[in-house]
Amino acid sequence: MSQAKRKAVALVSGGLDSMLAVRVIQEQGIHVEGINFYTGFCVEGHTHAIRKKDQGKDKRNNALWVAEQLGIKLHIIDIVEEYKDVLLNPKHGYGANMNPCLDCKIFMVHKALEWADKNGFDFIITGEVVGQRPMSQRKDTMPVVARESGAQDRLLRPLCAKNLPATLPEREGWVDREKLYDFSGRSRKPQMALAAQFGFSDYATPAGGCCFLTDEAYSRKLVDLWQARGKREYEMDDIMLLKVGRHIRPAPHYKLIVGREEGENNFLEGYRKIYIHLRPISHTGPLVLLDGEASEEDIVLAARITARYSKGHTAEQVTVQVTDLNGVSRELVVAPLSPDELKPEWHL
């Protein structure tokens, strides 16, 4: 091993795999720092903050938590703007839902490489495992990530390195290939065994992927948004709102976002000034945002749907306050929509 302590930057998602990868490399005397990318679609953070019922549960940011357990620094990078191009024009296409995993990984490793070069780091590590994920972590796609990100043989995957050609850190003897792993496939058992060996517990186990784009319902709402607007684009507010509330589209030109509980209603409050919004006043009930253009007839239907989700859903009449974009409010007295009038296909 060379005199100067070698440095690696690790892609830290907050999940177990990257946590293990870091510890494996730390054990070889390498200085490791973490990098975490915020695309706007990350599962971390806000949904917990938004939904009241989740608030006590898991408010920690897992990437920060992992870094603290490992005793490494963590740099969180906002890639919201740059990520749009990755999501809208993925060269390698999408996975099962709107997740452009392969392009996403290439992009993140590329950004990590830029960071490494700027900060004097020697190589990059990830928690990837051959065969773990159907798109980005296949034997044939892992070299694609190394190549197209520009990282080439400076990209080391400690958990499955033995299944892949030796990388620069291995060839140079900065790390001992023999002490790396040969995990492959979808089984999580080897990771769990290694976690136990390192004494890790209480780690996060996100189902599916690290972001909302792997979620079918979320992807459907995103595609619906593009269809309704007639163009594929999004702003931060759009992607945040897709995470919140019930989304109901009674007609192509508008949809309703109905808060499901107090936390969501409070969150939606923040958008009152930019959306027409409705709320029952004769009964307790949700705050509802109207996204799109609505005729008077549409507003009445929206009010009836709002009433349907209020405590007055069985009442004959519910008074709903409607506020337009100028902040002017009026009251409508409506009959709540009956369950069979609310068409299942309106639910996004």
Binding site: Y38, C42, E44, G45, H46, H48, A49, I50, K59, R60, N61, A63, L64, W65, A67, E68, G71, I72, K73, L74, H75, I76, I77, D78, M240, G270
Partner: protein, 77 residues
């Protein structure tokens, strides 16, 4: 040793942490950055970020819906 302010209101985690991180990078050790947030999650995330990156939280307080966190910039170790 100067005192600075950062408005991270209406941002949801992890954005307040990212903003604080980027501002701290421009400051000198010993400087104090006062971050004002509305996402209470920042009360967990910003101190965690400080602990792992060698900065110190001097005080946290709540003012209505706002959370205010004073960070003393460390020397990066």
């Amino acid at each position: 040793m100067a005192r600075y302010q950062l408005d991270a209101r209406r941002l949801l985690c992890p954005m307040p942490v990212i903003r604080a991180q980027n501002r701290v990078a421009e400051l000198q050790p010993g400087d104090v950055l006062e971050v004002t947030c509305t996402d209470p999650g920042a009360l967990n995330d910003i101190p965690a970020w400080c602990r792992i990156n060698g900065h110190r939280v001097l005080a946290t307080r709540r003012d209505g819906n706002e959370v205010i966190i004073d960070i003393e910039v460390g020397d990066g170790t």
